[in-house]
């Protein structure tokens, strides 16, 4: 089992979120990402965080698994935060020493930027955590199928994607095996300068390539032998069906999206400012 998912971060718990249709999850993730770019107020960020926590809880994921993906981009987040903090110069000055100026506006922008990035990454990682790569590929194929009208070879692309996904763990495993075998003969991969290291990888790369070509040949024969062709008449073994869960998920995220839009374009025009209602003087 571990082999199916060695690639990606899929975290199996068989929760209602995992069972959602991959297409629905893909679309809702897009909607969520779009929503994040409409957020302007702290209330919006709080709401998004709440939504995220609800989904994580429903998916029965440990919060660490989500934060792990944030850790991967922590450097970028910190970097952009620092740039923002020091380079925004308009608004009320909070701290000034020499040419370093930190303004109130800069602080707000920075906090919002960090929140935006963290929520974005966490949301996207939820998709990867609850959907297997193969489900994702199938979902993408289905979503892309209208492109067939303009002669995009969607089936071929999808087949290429599924095969690639299928063989990434295999290649990974094979690489490890070959590395082990060459290490057993005294090969050393982590000493010397960059050229020495690249050269040291040859005993791994050459067999890896040769084996991959052999495997590709065998796979092509096997597919041929079973009369594979990428015509439209092919049917699916596993047909994805929309269920009630998908509808509920859709309503939930669409509702969230609506509130974010209202928060941005409507509430303030009618004199409701939730941020100052919550934080008052703090802002």
């Amino acid at each position: 089992m571990f082999k199916d998912v060695a690639f990606g971060q899929y975290y199996p718990t068989n929760s209602p979120v995992h069972r959602l249709d991959a297409r629905v999850k893909l679309l809702l993730t897009l909607l969520y990402v779009a929503a994040i770019f409409f957020i302007k107020s702290y209330f919006g960020f709080m709401l998004t965080t709440a939504v995220l926590i609800i989904i994580v809880a429903l998916a029965r994921l440990p919060i660490m698994s989500v934060l792990k993906s944030v850790r991967g981009v922590l450097f970028i987040v910190v970097f952009t935060a620092i740039i923002n903090l020091f380079f925004i110069k308009d608004g009320e000055v909070l701290v000034q020493s020499g040419s370093l100026i930190i303004t109130k506006n800069g602080v707000h922008t920075t906090i919002k930027l960090v929140l935006r990035l963290v929520l974005l990454i966490s949301g996207a990682s939820l998709l990867a955590l609850t959907t297997t790569p193969v489900q994702l590929a199938d979902g993408l194929e289905s979503l892309m199928s209208p492109l067939k009208l303009i002669k995009v070879p969607v089936r071929d692309i999808a087949m290429i994607m599924s095969i690639a996904l299928r063989f990434i763990p295999t290649l990974f495993e094979e690489t490890n095996k070959i590395i082990a075998a060459q290490k057993a003969r005294g090969a050393c991969f982590d000493t010397g300068n960059i050229f020495a290291r690249i050269k040291a990888m040859l005993p791994v790369l050459i067999p890896l390539f040769i084996n991959s070509f052999r495997r590709a040949d065998e796979l092509a024969f096997a597919m041929d032998a079973r009369c594979y062709n990428a015509t439209d008449k092919r049917t699916r073994f596993k047909k994805a069906k929309l269920g009630w869960g998908d509808l509920i998920a859709f309503v939930f995220i669409a509702g969230y999206f609506t509130v974010i839009l209202l928060d941005r374009y409507y509430f303030r025009t009618v004199g409701i400012d939730i941020d100052s209602m919550i934080f008052g003087e703090l802002l």
Partner: protein, 305 residues
């Protein structure tokens, strides 16, 4: 001093994730110098994981409690790791998929080169390794390893390990995917290697006939635990254990069991074909003598009448 000494070895793959998998559990194992140890067990029982500890390819997870020592060298010691790798030759499953050089001689020289031997010594070792595995140096040295037959490729790969002249040779299913003649060839090669190069052999195999014939001692793994450890006779005579561990009996033992069930008088601890034929010969001869005696009795009676 034993060649290999493993104490309290535990290993868990993907620790602390939902894919956590306990592959080894409290393994204690000693292999004496000059011994031929057969390692058996159903697929997934942890054999490959166990042997990769022997040359430090897999790091110990609990250094305080467990230890792996080969010829007096600890597998956790970073400084002697390289030396350990040359001391323990490891032939993986399908070793031919790891060939990479453009000539056979260069590929076999990869290990000795990493040992930083001088050129003459490397050449001598390559020559000898190829001869030992039964490939004529002059005929094969300059050929591409990728143009050889499966069995020849495997010999080249084994030669690549032998060229390091390891004291302990570990083989993970060395005959997988070969035809009967190729299998026999490789097996007798392994026996020969034990005499000429590496006195201590640890071999993983799913074939109980080979194990019964070759191994001095058999260790059986099940779900990461050692469930049997003894001579082939001791291990294979415990039918219940063999079944529990998901293993086969050697063909000779199965035939012997059937014969015994039909009333042939042979011992029940037969594990090799040689022993079976010897015992059958004996049983047959004693039957003939009994029959002859009975016949004599009959003919005497006839005469009396």
């Amino acid at each position: 001093m034993p060649a290999v000494e493993i104490k309290n070895l535990n290993f868990i793959y993907s620790k602390k994730t939902p894919f956590e998998k306990r592959a080894l559990q409290d393994i204690n194992l000693t292999v004496e110098e000059g011994e031929f140890l057969g390692l058996v067990g159903a697929t997934g029982s942890g054999k490959s994981t166990l042997i990769q500890h022997l040359n430090g390819l897999i790091k110990l997870q609990d250094k305080k409690r467990s230890s792996v020592v080969v010829n007096g060298m600890s597998a956790t010691d970073k400084k002697s790791l390289k030396k350990l790798r040359f001391e323990v030759g490891m032939v993986f499953q399908y070793p031919e998929y790891q060939l990479f050089e453009d000539t056979v001689a260069k590929d076999v020289a990869f290990g000795p080169k990493n040992m930083k031997l001088d050129k003459d010594e490397i050449d001598a070792r390559v020559r000898r390794a190829l001869e030992v595995v039964g490939l004529e140096y002059d005929k094969f040295a300059e050929r591409s390893p990728f143009d050889l037959s499966g069995g020849e490729k495997r010999r080249v790969a084994i030669a690549g390990v032998i060229a390091m002249q390891p004291k302990v040779l570990v083989l993970d299913e060395p005959v997988a995917g070969l035809d009967p003649v190729g299998r026999e060839d490789i097996l007798s090669l392994v026996k020969k290697l034990q005499k000429e190069v590496s006195p201590t052999i640890i071999m993983v195999s799913h074939n109980m006939d080979d194990m019964a014939r070759l191994a001095d001692r058999i260790v059986a793994l099940k779900d990461g635990c050692i469930v049997a450890n003894g001579t082939p006779k001791e291990v294979f005579c415990d039918r219940k254990l063999i079944e529990d561990a998901g293993l086969d009996l050697p063909a000779a033992t199965r035939i012997a069991d059937k014969l015994i069930a039909r009333g042939v008088e042979i011992p029940s601890d037969i594990v090799t074909m040689d022993a079976l034929s010897a015992e059958l010969g004996k049983a047959l001869r004693s039957r003939i003598t009994v029959a002859a005696k009975a016949n004599d009795g009959v003919s005497e009676e006839d005469e009396n009448v």
